[in-house]
């Protein structure tokens, strides 16, 4: 399944990294398409491509809904012979007061049942979240090609 990728004038590649600015729901689509393309180049295939793209979609939407703007950084990673993809979702939004609560399934502050963060964690192999109220949130997650 191939899409005609939307024209991405703002997506910047710095060396191996891809930065996708997030400020609208259209950017969520761009982020996951870029993520999917990069994942494929790294060697992901089949169901895991959809898994990675879905996880990116979830965290990108989190940015749009709670922080209004932020960025997604996609980077290939190589560790001990294993190839993988790192996804960082950064924002300078309100921050999450209770991370444990936010990571519980079914928790959401707006727009009904959101699966965003706990869902993304389930999809990826490694997941880390740092958040400070008033400063912002950074989610870092990794998936390995297997």
């Amino acid at each position: 399944m191939r899409f005609v990728s939307s024209f991405v004038s703002e997506v910047a590649a710095v060396g191996d990294e891809i930065h996708v600015p997030i400020s609208s729901d259209a950017d969520i689509v761009i982020a996951r398409q870029q993520g999917r393309a990069l994942a494929e180049r790294i060697g992901f295939a089949g169901g895991n491509l959809a898994v990675v793209a879905t996880a990116i979609s979830e965290v990108a939407r989190n940015i749009v809904e709670y922080a209004k703007r932020g960025e997604i950084v996609l980077k290939p990673v190589n560790q001990g012979g294993r190839q993988g993809l790192t996804v960082m979702a950064r924002d300078q939004g309100p921050g999450i007061p209770d991370i444990a609560l936010a990571m519980q399934d079914g928790y959401s502050t707006a727009k009904g049942l959101g699966l965003g963060l706990p869902g993304a964690r389930r999809l990826m192999d490694e997941f880390e979240i740092i958040s400070k109220v008033g400063r912002g949130t950074t989610v870092t997650m990794k998936k390995w090609v297997r």
Binding site: G47, L49, A50, A53, E58
Partner: protein
Amino acid sequence: MLVPILKQRDFLIATIQSALTDDDLLQLRDDLAERVGRCRSRGVIVDVTVLDVMDSFAARTLRALAHMVGLRGARTVIVGIQPEVAFAMVQLGLTLGDVETALDLEEGIELLQKRTKRSAHRGG
């Protein structure tokens, strides 16, 4: 209207043709609900064959779509969820709730016909 909606007798068939943003999905939901009312359709098929990702928002919106369409007396069937997408969805923990699914358009129409048969006879 981003997603073409075709009328096939009593049914409406919405075939998604490219990646949809959140707003596009909401638009589809509202368009279909409106059309069902206007055309008095008894069934709706949403063809998602082309989607390579179904995230929590998409699943929520499709459930809401089915609910709204149901309030207007019609059934909804989602068709064309691809293997990789289904795989990712269950890992994420997504469910479409009570919304029925079928393999493809042909199966979806057959299912809708089965589901709407009885009510046709009841009406006389």
